[in-house]
Structures are given as C-alpha cells and as structure tokens.
Symmetry: C2
Subunit: 117 residues, 2 copies
C-alpha cells in the first residue's frame, strides 16, 4: 500500500507530458539519487527516501512538502524539534485538536496570530 510511490509517479508523468526534463533519470539527477533508486521508490519496491530527498521531490514537483512527507510516513524535522522543545505543551495541543474540524482549528490559530492572546 505504498501510496507514496504511485503518487510521485503520477505527478512526475503529468509534468513529463509537457516537459521532457521530468524523466526518471533527469529528476533523479536533480534530487541527487540514482535513477534506479527513484524508479524503485515510484514502484513501491523500496520504502520512501529520506526526509531530505522527499523535500527535494516536493520542490521539483510543486507539491506541499508536509503532505509528501506524510505520505512517506514521516513528519518534518522542524516540527518534531518544536514539539521536543516543549513536549508537554505540544502534546496537549495536538491531542486536544486532533479531533476538531479544520475550520475550528484554523479560526483559533488566526486569533492567536492576530494577537488576541
């Protein structure tokens, strides 16, 4: 069920249709891996690559890095670091918000950003 690979492949082929530089070889070159490796990743024969490569892929494919990392089963290291710096606080926040609807969470965050707290 490695949806990561097929997702990448789909995006890459879509781009390749109008831009030949999105071949396995050339894209692999740009993100700094061997073509055979990218090929195996796309077919799910190998687990998703490192955070660094996933972010490079996101940048090349015009995708949201956090979404791509999530598909890869990972969480961005800067988010992890933020949590590790105040573990009690962020554990409480995330567990509290995880079942809330998006609009509630976003509305709240907007309030915070606007200095209401």
């Amino acid at each position: 069920m490695s949806s990561f690979g097929s997702y990448i492949r789909e995006r890459r082929e879509r781009l390749k249709a109008s831009d030949a530089t999105f071949s396995v070889r050339q894209l692999a070159g740009r993100i700094g891996v061997e073509p055979s490796f990218l090929s195996k990743v796309e077919r799910g024969e190998t687990p998703p690559p490192s955070e660094e490569k996933v972010k490079a892929l996101a940048s090349e494919l015009g995708e949201d890095p956090d979404v791509l990392l999530a598909l890869a089963g990972k969480v961005s290291s800067d988010l992890q670091e933020a949590i590790r710096k105040r573990p009690e606080l962020f554990a409480a926040v995330i567990r509290e918000l995880k079942d809330m609807p998006d609009h509630a969470v976003l509305g709240m965050v907007r309030e915070v950003r606007d200095g209401k707290w």
Copy 2:
C-alpha cells in the same frame, strides 16, 4: 551530551534510595531489557532505547512520557500519526504556535475545549 541517560539514572537512584526494587537489574526486568543494556543507556554509552521502552521507563519512574521521549530525541507515535493525517493543518498550527508563550497557547486550547469554536 546524552542527557537522557543521566536523567534516567538520577530518577532511578532517587527512587532506589527508598525502594530496593529500583536496581538496574530489577527495573530492566520490568521494562523488558537486559540489565547491561539499561546500564549502558544510563551512562549514555548507547543511544536511548525504543519508544516502547522509553514509555515503560516513564511509567515505572513516574515521569511524563512525552518529556522523556523528548529527552530521547523522539516524538510519540500517536502525535506523529495525528500530524500525518492532516499535515497541512498541523504544520501550520505548530509553526504558528512554536514561538508563542505557553499561556497564550494554553488559553487558546482551553477555549477550543470549551466549545468556543
């Protein structure tokens, strides 16, 4: 600078002063590892153990599991899962809140819990 080990050791020895079952051997037995392994962990000779063992340690030592995991350089898998389920949302939330003072964040969470959103 593996503060995890010394933190564990200090807590264990504090408890051991009034409860002999907090020897390396017995505690190791209760969390399901070999004594030599726990010893090496406490001295920082080996990196912190798996999430599962860290949580067992937290439970035995009466510490907050999220704090102990943070010292071990990890983030609890349930939090990671929550983030991976809605990566854009939680990435935004965490990046927005990471520089906010605790009281602001907590006040906000309280509002959410009280159904204000």
